[in-house]
């Protein structure tokens, strides 16, 4: 569905102006440093704050000129940082609260079952763990039959195990959910793991928006090092214990891999961990300790001082290598030249 967004909000010491038009589907991560206005953007969309301007999604016009639809009639579900369950109701009561108002009582049992909260139904809210509470609040949000789901750092209050459980629920919602998701976070690993698209927010404005594969390298670039992002699928383990990661151009072998089996996962490759060689992989077979020598074509070279930044195209994935300018010259690298990228190690994206 098409999102039309042009909202301004002035507060003492803070000005926010969000402007964006584009199609929303799957999960769009709203990424930026704290204080940049990510949460403000979410609150403006939900209608908790009233700014000037307009916002609409598909056929729904939520704000335009003087027309302002109050939050409870927008059919936008918000999942907050804290679960915000109602303390005076039990788990079943919290779910019924949403279901009764949306007319979705017939869905309670199946949704509760699907997300593993059936056995919590009679529990008091105060006795739930953080992960259980957030799980209930996700089911409660889904019961509102929303046209858009907003999530405001839903993992940040959770510890490791609970976080993993909620992460995989959010992945399910992204892939098979009823509505597009806008997901506020300042965690790079959450963006890498969850996002189909990324909206970069900084100092009170949306700086850029695009597919995660295009925006992630911007996020991951630091002064010291640069990371490339590759999407792989962990397909199996070889007899000697090496994990097989399939990518469109072939496969990588790594000694250990914590990513989930069978699900596309984004991995990071440090620019300093990529070496370049000329010739065929077969020429090097048995003469090189690096296991992963994958075919690549030079896309661009930027020389700065003694070092060269080489952008490679590996079966559609862009990978950046940092080598010395002298090596680049010795290998005869130039745009369009075929070579081998020797990848020493890969990592799951972490913060």
């Amino acid at each position: 569905m098409k999102l039309d967004l042009d909202l301004r909000l002035e507060r003492p010491g803070f000005a926010f102006h969000a402007q964006h038009q584009g199609t929303l589907s799957g999960l769009t991560a709203i990424f930026g440093p704290s204080g940049s206005g990510k949460t403000t953007l979410l609150r403006l969309i939900a209608g908790f704050e009233r700014g000037a301007g307009e916002i609409g999604l598909g056929p729904h016009r939520w704000q335009q000129g003087r027309h302002f639809v109050p939050p409870h009639r927008r059919r936008i579900a918000t999942v907050f940082q804290e679960a915000r369950l109602f303390q005076h109701l039990d788990v079943a009561g919290n779910l019924a609260y949403a279901a009764r108002r949306a007319g979705t009582a017939h869905n309670v049992a199946s949704l509760a079952d699907r997300f593993g909260v059936t056995q919590l139904m009679g529990r008091r809210v105060a006795g739930l763990s953080g992960g259980e509470a957030q799980r209930v609040s996700l089911v409660r949000a889904l019961l509102t039959d929303p046209v858009l789901i907003l999530m405001d750092e839903p993992l940040s209050a959770l510890d490791g195990a609970a976080r993993a459980g909620i992460l995989s629920i959010i992945e399910d919602l992204r892939d098979e959910g009823p509505a597009p998701i806008l997901y506020v976070t300042h965690s790079r690993s959450e963006v890498a793991r969850l996002a189909d698209r990324v909206m970069l927010v900084a100092s009170g404005a949306i700086r850029s928006e695009g597919p995660a594969s295009a925006i992630l390298p911007q996020i991951l670039q630091t002064e010291r090092d640069e990371l490339s992002v590759m999407t792989v699928t962990h397909t199996g383990v070889e007899a000697d214990g090496l994990c097989v990661l399939a990518y469109p151009g072939g496969r990588l072998l790594v000694p250990d891999f914590a990513g989930q089996r069978g699900r596309p996962t984004r991995i990071a490759i440090h620019a300093r961990d990529v070496l370049l060689a000329r010739g065929d992989a077969a020429d090097w077979s048995g003469r090189l300790s690096a296991l992963n020598a994958i075919p690549a074509r030079v896309f661009a070279i930027e020389v700065r001082g003694a070092s060269a930044r080489v952008t490679l195209d590996c079966a559609g994935t862009q990978i950046v290598a940092r080598i010395t300018a002298r090596s680049a010259g010795a290998l005869g690298l130039a745009s369009g030249v075929d070579c081998l990228a020797l990848i020493k190690s890969v990592a799951l994206l972490e913060d």
Binding site: A46, G47, F48, P70, P71, H72, R73, R75, I76, A77, T78, F80, E82, R84, L85, F86, Q87, H88, Y97, A98, R101, A102, A126, R140, A141, T144
Partner: protein, 213 residues
Amino acid sequence: MTLRLAALVTGLLLVIGTPLAWWLARTRSRLRPAVEAVTALPLVLPPTVLGFYLLIAFNPRSALGAAWLDITGQTLTFSFAGLVIASVIYSLPFTVQPLQAAFAQVGRAPLEAAASLGASPLDAFLSVASPLAIRGYLSAAVLTFAHTLGEFGVVLMVGGNIPGETRVVSIAIYELVETIDYGQAHVLSAILVALSFTILFALYLLNGPGRAR
């Protein structure tokens, strides 16, 4: 008589005080400090001041007093109705302040959650804010009831001392002491002390262990 007055005033004040306290707890208006100050005035003013102004306002020659006389055929001064109105004003802070604190404690978070689940503001108030502020309601009701039970000055000024109409316990005790009937005064005073203690004790008992949820 006294109990009926206290119960009626408590009921009325919970109805009047709820929207006022709700507004005070949530508004960003610049009027708020002024309204808060007016609400708290009965706490600091001598009852005679309040009683004096009420007496003037209730006077059949004043606009309010005359209107009341036209509609009901009774004067407001020296009547039960007048007492109720006077007590409502006098006990207002004892209702509004606990409620305001309770609503402030509830905060915006659960109400935003309710709105995102499709509850209108009134719906959210009834189904979320009120149940969460239940302790505030309890405190407000008990304090208002106990305070109305024990008031004296305003009642004397506005209501006088008419048996069956405006003679509340505190006034009766005053009269008994004036006529040196200490025996009867002891009985009534002891009843009032016991009653007030019981009510306050119940309040603190209920608020005690659950306070740090």
